[in-house]
C-alpha cells in the first residue's frame, strides 16, 4: 500500500484540522487549513485512503515542506 505525505505548501500557522488518525478520506477532502500571508490555504487529500499519522494541531506553526499528514492509499 502506497503512502502519500501531505506537505505544507507555505510557512504559516495551522488554523483548523478536519481529520484525525484513522479517518477515511476521499481525494479532495479537507485535511486542514494553513494560514500564510494572512490567507487561508485549504489543504486537501491528494489521494483517497486512510489518514495514518497526523503531525498537526491548531495553532502550530509549520515551515514550507513540513509533513502535515500521511495518508495510506486505498
Amino acid at each position: 500500500m502506497a503512502e502519500q505525505i501531505v506537505e505544507a505548501p507555505a510557512p504559516g500557522k495551522i488554523l483548523r484540522v478536519y481529520v484525525e488518525a484513522g479517518t477515511p478520506v476521499a481525494e479532495g477532502d479537507r485535511i486542514c487549513i494553513v494560514e500564510a500571508l494572512k490567507m487561508e490555504l485549504p489543504i486537501v487529500a491528494p489521494v483517497g485512503g486512510t489518514v495514518k499519522a497526523l503531525n498537526i494541531s491548531p495553532g502550530k506553526t509549520v515551515e514550507a515542506g513540513d509533513p502535515l499528514a500521511v495518508i495510506i492509499e486505498g
Binding site: P9, A10, P42, V44
Partner: protein, 378 residues
C-alpha cells in the same frame, strides 16, 4: 449678518462640493467596504479638509500646507514609509527562488508602455491632454503598483498631477483582485494554471539574508544612482528585520513609524486634491491609464512566465508572473486563488510571493531609472 457666520456656505462652489462628496466616498469605501482603509480614510479626510472653503488648511502656514512642504516636497514621507515596508517584507521567498527576479523585472513593462501612451496623448503627439514629458513618466510609474515610488517620482519630477497619480496608484492596488484574474485566465491555458510547484525550496542562510539588503543597496545604487534614496531606505528597513539583534527597531519601523507616517502621508496627499487641480479631464485620463498600466504589467509578467514554463520543461507555473507587479501581498494572494481554482492541490502562494517581492525591488529600480533618464529628454 454678523461677520464670519455662514461665510463657508456662501463661498462653497460646485467644484468644492464635488470634492467634499469624493472625500466622503473614499471614507465610505474605506470603512464600509474595507478597501485599503488605512489609506483611503486619511486621504478622504484630507480631501474634505482641503476643500472646505476658507478653512485655510492649504494656505501658507495651514496644517496641510506645512505637512506638504515638510513631507512631500522634500520626499521625506515616501522614504520613511519605505523603511517600514522594508522591515515588513520577507525577501526569503525571493532568495529561495532567484529566478523570480526576472518576473519582477518583466512586470515593470507596464510603466514604459503607459508612459508612451500618456506622452502620445499629451505633448508628444496628439496633444489631447495637458501631459508634459515629466507628467507622462509620473503617470507611467502607476504601473509599478508601488505607492511610495509613485509619490517619490511624481514629486521629484514636479508633476502637477502628483495627487491624482498617487490616489490612482493606491486605488488600483486595492482593485488588484478584480483587475488581474481576467487577464490571467485570458493569457494562460487551463493546463498551465493547473501546474503545481514543489513546496520545499532551498533554505537560505541567515548570512545571506543579512548580506542581501547591504549588497542590494550597493549594486542597485551603482547601477541606478537615482534609485538610491528608495532602495536605500527599503533595504535599511529590511536590514533591521534580518539583523536578528534589532527586534525593537524593526518593530518600531513596521508599526509605530509606518503608522504615523501613513497618517501624515494620507492626510497630506488628500490635502493636495484641491478642486481646481482635480476636476479636469486629465484626472479621468490618469485613472484610465492606471488600469492600462496595471493590465500591461500583469500581461508582461504572464508572458515571461509562459516563456519560463516552456524553457523550464513545464516546472514553472506561468501564473506567478502576474505577481511581478509589486502590490504586495495582494498579487501573491490573487495568484494563489487563481491557481487553486484550477487545481485544488496547487498552492502557488510562496512562489508568487517571490515574484512579488522581486517586483518591489524592480519597481524601485524602474523609478530610479526613469528619474535618471528624464534629464536626457527634457
Amino acid at each position: 449678518m454678523p461677520e464670519g457666520e455662514l461665510l463657508g456656505i456662501l463661498a462653497l462652489t460646485w467644484q468644492a462640493s464635488v470634492m467634499l462628496g469624493l472625500g466622503g466616498l473614499l471614507i465610505y469605501l474605506g470603512i464600509a467596504e474595507e478597501v485599503e482603509p488605512v489609506l483611503l480614510v486619511p486621504i478622504g479626510t484630507g480631501i474634505i479638509l482641503a476643500n472646505i472653503p476658507l478653512g485655510g488648511l492649504t494656505e501658507t502656514g495651514g496644517l496641510l500646507a506645512v505637512l506638504r512642504r515638510a513631507g512631500i516636497d522634500t520626499e521625506l514621507f515616501p522614504l520613511l514609509i519605505f523603511i517600514g515596508v522594508g522591515a515588513m517584507i520577507d525577501f526569503g521567498s525571493l532568495l529561495e527562488r532567484p529566478y523570480t527576479v526576472f518576473l519582477g523585472a518583466a512586470a515593470q513593462f507596464g510603466i514604459f508602455g503607459t508612459f508612451f501612451l500618456a506622452y502620445f496623448l499629451g505633448d508628444g503627439g496628439l496633444r489631447l491632454f495637458a501631459f508634459s514629458f515629466k507628467d507622462a513618466v509620473s503617470i507611467g510609474i502607476i504601473g509599478s503598483a508601488d505607492g511610495p515610488t509613485s509619490i517619490y517620482v511624481a514629486t521629484v519630477l514636479g508633476s502637477k498631477y502628483a495627487a491624482s497619480i498617487v490616489v490612482a496608484a493606491y486605488s488600483y492596488m486595492a482593485l488588484v483582485p478584480i483587475i488581474q484574474p481576467p487577464i490571467m485566465r485570458a493569457l494562460t491555458t487551463a493546463a498551465e494554471r493547473r501546474l503545481a510547484m514543489p513546496a520545499r525550496a532551498q533554505k537560505v542562510s541567515r548570512r545571506t539574508r543579512v548580506l542581501f539588503p547591504v549588497v542590494t543597496i550597493i549594486v542597485v545604487g551603482l547601477i541606478a544612482p537615482k534609485a538610491t534614496p528608495l532602495i536605500g531606505t527599503l533595504m535599511f528597513g529590511n536590514l533591521l528585520r534580518e539583523a536578528g539583534v534589532l527586534e525593537r527597531l524593526s518593530q518600531a519601523a513596521q508599526n509605530e513609524m509606518a503608522n504615523i507616517v501613513t497618517i501624515l502621508l494620507g492626510l497630506t496627499v488628500g490635502g493636495m486634491m484641491a478642486a481646481e487641480d482635480f476636476l479636469r479631464p486629465e484626472t479621468i485620463m490618469i485613472y484610465v491609464m492606471g488600469v492600462v498600466a496595471f493590465a500591461a504589467g500583469t500581461a508582461a509578467g504572464l508572458i515571461l512566465g509562459k516563456l519560463m514554463y516552456v524553457v523550464s520543461g513545464k516546472k514553472i507555473n506561468p501564473l506567478i508572473g502576474a505577481a511581478g507587479i509589486s502590490a504586495f501581498p495582494m498579487c501573491a494572494r490573487v495568484v494563489q486563488r487563481v491557481g487553486l481554482e484550477a487545481n485544488p492541490h496547487n498552492h502557488l502562494l510562496m512562489h508568487a510571493a517571490g515574484a512579488n517581492t522581486a517586483g518591489q525591488i524592480a519597481s524601485v529600480v524602474a523609478g530610479g531609472a526613469a528619474l535618471a533618464l528624464v534629464p536626457f529628454f527634457v
